[in-house]
């Protein structure tokens, strides 16, 4: 599925993201904003203040910049607080305070799901949860029905509530990870930085968790919440004490509207079936589903030619069946292969090559510094930090999954920077070059770089993809320069191979 060109801006943490919400359009506050000290919801709400530390991929040896943010959360069963993953990502210190009581309580993260932007917190201090009431979850609200959003958005420091109606129920990208799409409910109540993690209520039950919106100059009165099927899945996934992430069929499919195509594939003119385009390597369907297969039913539910199915009385994308499943579960596909009906069983897992394109959190950047040359594996965090224009690097990154580059190269290791010194004075042309080989060893991942440089050689020889000239560093010169480079550039560690 291709993402729309409009970028969803995270509607989230107060100080950090205000820049993205360039202006607060008064018109987006159509709905009543009221401060509710005494409302029953007030006994479930918490204000979350998070201090986080985000690593800088350009100086990966540094611990990173510390910043603070504000979000909302609400108490659910089991003395747990639910919020968005992006409110508590990369967090170093976390406090929560009850509505109407400014006293902060230190809190900790129990579980975090970056792919669904949900997290669970708890407070260890005895007595925190006394007097708090846990909220219950409802179902998917009807289109046009009214919902209320609670949180601590910009515009003041106290609780705010905005009200809106359910505008749309659809699959949408989740901007926190940048590559996951799940069921999402669009509402026309304003969702602004600080609303994140707050409950969206209807008839006293939680029907969603506010999480993202558009900045004012892109669209107005468009806010998104995570609906309860996604929330329930997250809660079920962590029941075993561990979050396993979403599973995926890892196939792409296209609609089948064209009459000639339907005829050629031996399909009736009944508006059913989609055709499989790609079966992604390393994914659940590899070796089971084939490109060109026509998917007719998923777990017995008929698939329309636009890829939608009917589930709980609502029309949703066929992926919704898989969305509600867990690692190790199976999905049954009724297909037509070369005109013959075939039943396929797909055991579900997570396709790892895709994670390259996902924003990563709570990870330390990995790198190796050698002779003033900085080597790093490329992932989405790296690309966001450097925004390299180098065509070969962009190709290798963009088509990592499609062109099965991961088979030869599980990690794309590049020469990301040069800490200038006489010994590397002639390496400047190689910046952003993908490392092919070091000292005769193929480089398939960052660990290979560290291992290759450990070889006893007189000349360290680094070969870059697409460049016939090697980078040559004399061993003795590298040793001499080592202390000098580290102290001159304030490099506190020469390598980090752990996430």
């Amino acid at each position: 599925m291709r993402l729309s060109k409009i970028e969803v801006v995270k509607g989230v943490r107060l100080p950090r993201l205000t820049g993205m919400f360039r202006l607060l359009v008064p018109a987006s506050f159509f709905f009543v904003i009221a401060v509710l000290h005494a409302s029953p919801v007030g006994r479930s709400l918490v204000r979350i203040e998070a201090t986080s530390q985000e690593p800088n991929y350009r100086t990966p040896w540094n611990p990173g910049e510390v910043s603070g943010g504000v979000g909302a959360g609400f108490v659910i069963s089991g003395n747990r607080i639910m919020t968005n993953a992006h409110v508590v990502s990369n967090v170093r210190f976390l406090t929560v305070s009850k509505e109407g009581n400014p006293k902060p309580f230190p809190a900790r993260v129990l579980h975090i799901g970056h792919d669904c932007d949900l997290a669970l917190l708890t407070v260890d201090e005895p007595g925190f949860f006394s007097g708090m009431s846990a909220l219950d979850f409802g179902g998917i609200p009807e289109i046009e029905s009214t919902v209320s959003v609670y949180g601590y958005p910009i515009g003041g420091s106290k609780l705010s509530v905005t009200r809106g109606i359910v505008s749309r129920i659809d699959f949408q990208p989740y901007s926190h990870s940048g590559m996951d799409s799940h069921l999402t409910i669009q509402i026309d109540a304003a969702i602004n930085p600080g609303n994140s993690g707050g409950p969206v209520l209807q008839d006293g039950r939680v029907v969603g968790v506010a999480f993202q919106g558009y900045s004012g100059d892109v669209a107005q009165n468009v806010g998104y919440m995570i609906p309860t099927p996604v929330v329930r899945r997250f809660l079920k996934d962590v029941e075993d004490g561990h979050y396993d992430r979403y599973v995926d069929l890892a196939v792409s499919y296209d609609s089948l509207f064209n009459p000639a195509a339907r005829k050629a594939l031996g399909l009736k003119d009944d508006g059913e079936g989609v055709i499989v385009g790609s079966v992604y390597g390393g994914g659940s369907s590899e070796g089971i589903v084939k490109p060109g297969d026509v998917l007719l039913k998923i777990d017995g539910l008929p698939i329309s030619s636009d890829g939608s199915i009917e589930m709980d009385g609502k029309s949703v994308q066929l992926a919704e069946v898989v969305e509600r499943k867990f690692k190790g579960d199976r999905v049954e596909l009724d297909t037509l292969r070369d005109g013959q009906p075939v039943k396929l069983i797909v055991p579900l897992n997570q396709p790892w090559p895709f994670t390259l394109h996902s924003n990563a959190y709570n990870e330390k950047p990995r790198f190796v510094v050698f002779g003033g040359l900085v080597f790093q594996p490329v992932d989405q965090n790296f690309m966001s930090a450097f925004e390299p224009a180098d065509l070969r690097l962009r190709y290798t990154f963009d088509f990592f999954v499609d062109d099965r580059i991961y088979v030869e190269r599980p990690e794309i290791v590049v020469l990301s920077g040069i800490l200038a010194d006489p010994i590397n004075a002639h390496a400047g042309d190689f910046r952003y070059g993908i490392v092919e080989e070091i000292n005769g060893s193929k480089i398939r991942k960052l660990d290979d770089v560290a291992a290759a440089f450990a070889k006893p050689v007189d000349y360290h020889v680094i070969r870059i993809v697409g460049n016939g000239r090697p980078i040559v560093l004399e061993r003795r010169a590298v040793e001499e320069a080592r202390g000098r480079i580290l102290s001159r550039y304030g490099v506190t560690m020469e390598q980090n191979l752990e996430k």
Binding site: N258, P259, A264, L265, S278, L391, Y459, G466, G468, P470
Partner: protein
């Protein structure tokens, strides 16, 4: 290198202020020193390019005006860019404004040169041809000629600030460039201007940067090569070695490869099917000398006329296609002589051509699906930021074409869909590379056209190398709807091969 500021942007339209300033007072040269109106002609060219998105249509015509120089044989020399994609070229006398249509005798986009001839032989009678200059050195004065509206020659004198190899506009071929520092004024008709020195032609101005007031000239050696080739029975153009190289300044690299000889350049890339590949040159070789001229560690040799310049001048300009050059090569500790027979570039074998001029791009329209062959002008339709904005897979094919097997053929792709009954459900498909049609492999649009004549079981099956992998058309219906499609979208033809 200065930014490629073409005269196109600066000087077309006489109302545009030059560099944002008001004209400075004229410094008139002494009238007696003029090389002048008896050797230059206004050249007005109306040009019209094809729309690479819709290759059955042409874009708006535009005109370029420049000054041509009369050379021997009653011919006029101009830049190729002036007359690129021409529809009508006309010569105009400076003072009398007498006009005459021109015929293009030869145009070479690699060297950015073209020869025109007046349609009426007597048109240039009484005019004085200019001979080519030689022996210019850095620091020498040079004069750029422009015309006042009244036909008087306006001279601007500057000086030659560098003589070096530079990339030429159309194909990036590295040929000699004279750089001039000269404060040129905004004047009408300055797309191509001659520069002279002591009554001889020093070169044609092909680009000018108004901010730094530097002008790049196509110098006499390049012009001479072009004229010599033009005089031959078969025009061979400019040859090229087809090698990418880098300096050997890095002492660690020199010690690693045991290079004890002074100088030399390290070969980093060999063009597929190029002269160097045919001769057996390999990546990792070090070129020490070309035809007896020793090469320093940056690739320069001592030229008798111009001093230290890149050895590319020897291979691309001094030598002609068909000539054999002798390289002194260092490989694995040994030094040997390697003869290289120089070839021109066979443009028909290029996977994605850097320019397509004077010809209609090929296309095939099948039931509303528009198929094209990849070329850089197509990608450039996305604007100056095309490497970012154009379809990425096509950009990569263009960028890394030298790494793709020559057997790959051309890259044929579905560029867009003209929606019709037959393409129902395919409306949003665009820029998908075609691998097969009706089971036949597609290496050119001609292949595609041929394959479409052999539908299988009544269907046209088109396969792509990415999603949606394959689509079908009803062959009978496509055939039936041909004229309807053609008239509804006003297509002059459903294919151009």
């Amino acid at each position: 290198m200065i930014a490629r500021v073409l005269f196109l942007g600066l000087i077309l339209g006489s109302g545009v202020a030059f560099g944002g300033t008001t004209p400075v007072p004229r410094k008139e040269a002494v009238p007696a020193a003029r090389t002048g109106s008896e050797s230059v002609l206004r050249v007005n060219s109306t040009n019209q390019a094809y729309d690479f998105f819709r290759p059955w249509t042409k874009k708006l015509p535009y005109s370029r005006r420049g000054l041509g120089v009369l050379i021997e044989g009653g011919r006029i020399l101009v830049t190729a860019e002036l007359v690129g994609n021409r529809t009508y070229v006309e010569l105009e006398k400076a003072t009398t404004a007498e006009k005459c249509a021109a015929v293009v005798e030869r145009v070479d986009y690699d060297s950015n040169l073209a020869i025109l001839k007046p349609a009426e032989a007597g048109f240039v009678k009484g005019m004085k041809p200019l001979a080519l200059d030689s022996g210019v050195r850095v620091g020498d004065p040079a004069t750029v000629l422009q015309l006042e509206p009244n036909g008087e020659v306006a001279e601007t004198t500057g000086s030659v600030t560098s003589i070096a190899i530079g990339g030429y506009p159309m194909d990036g071929l590295g040929l000699l460039v004279f750089r001039l520092s000269a404060p040129l004024q905004q004047r009408d008709g300055s797309f191509t201007l001659p520069a002279v020195r002591a009554g001889r032609l020093l070169g044609l101005l092909m680009r000018y940067d108004a901010r730094s007031q530097t002008a790049d000239l196509i110098p006499p050696p390049v012009i001479r090569h072009f004229l010599e080739e033009n005089a031959k029975e078969t025009y061979g153009g400019f040859g090229r070695m087809g090698v990418g190289f880098t300096a050997t300044r890095d002492p660690q690299l020199r010690r690693y490869v045991n290079l004890t000889q002074p100088g030399g350049v390290y070969v980093t890339e060999i063009l597929r099917g190029g002269s160097a590949e045919e001769a057996g040159l390999a990546v990792g070789d070090v070129i020490l000398a070309v035809d007896g001229h020793n090469i320093d560690q940056d690739g320069n040799y001592e030229d008798a006329e111009f001093g230290r310049i890149s050895f590319s001048h020897l291979t691309n300009t001094v030598a002609h296609p068909g000539d054999t050059l002798t390289l002194k090569v260092f490989r694995g500790g040994a030094v040997f002589d390697l003869p290289v027979k120089l070839q021109g570039r066979d443009r028909s074998k290029i996977l994605s051509a850097s320019y397509v001029m004077d010809e209609q791009p090929k296309y095939v329209i099948l039931g509303g699906l528009v198929f094209l062959e990849l070329s850089r002008p197509f990608l450039q339709e996305w604007g100056s930021d095309w490497t970012k904005n154009a379809p990425q897979r096509l950009v990569y094919y263009d960028a890394f074409q030298n790494e793709i097997s020559p057997d790959r053929g051309k890259v044929v792709f579905l560029s867009q869909v003209l929606p019709s009954q037959d393409t129902l459900g395919y409306e949003s498909l665009e820029n998908l590379i075609v691998t097969k049609v009706n089971g036949m492999e597609i290496k050119s649009l001609a292949d595609l056209s041929e394959a479409s004549k052999h539908p299988v079981d009544g269907f046209q099956k088109i396969e792509f190398d990415e999603d949606p992998r394959s689509i079908f058309l009803d062959a009978g219906s496509v055939e039936e709807n041909r004229s309807k499609l053609q008239s509804e979208y006003a297509l002059p033809s459903l294919e151009h091969l």
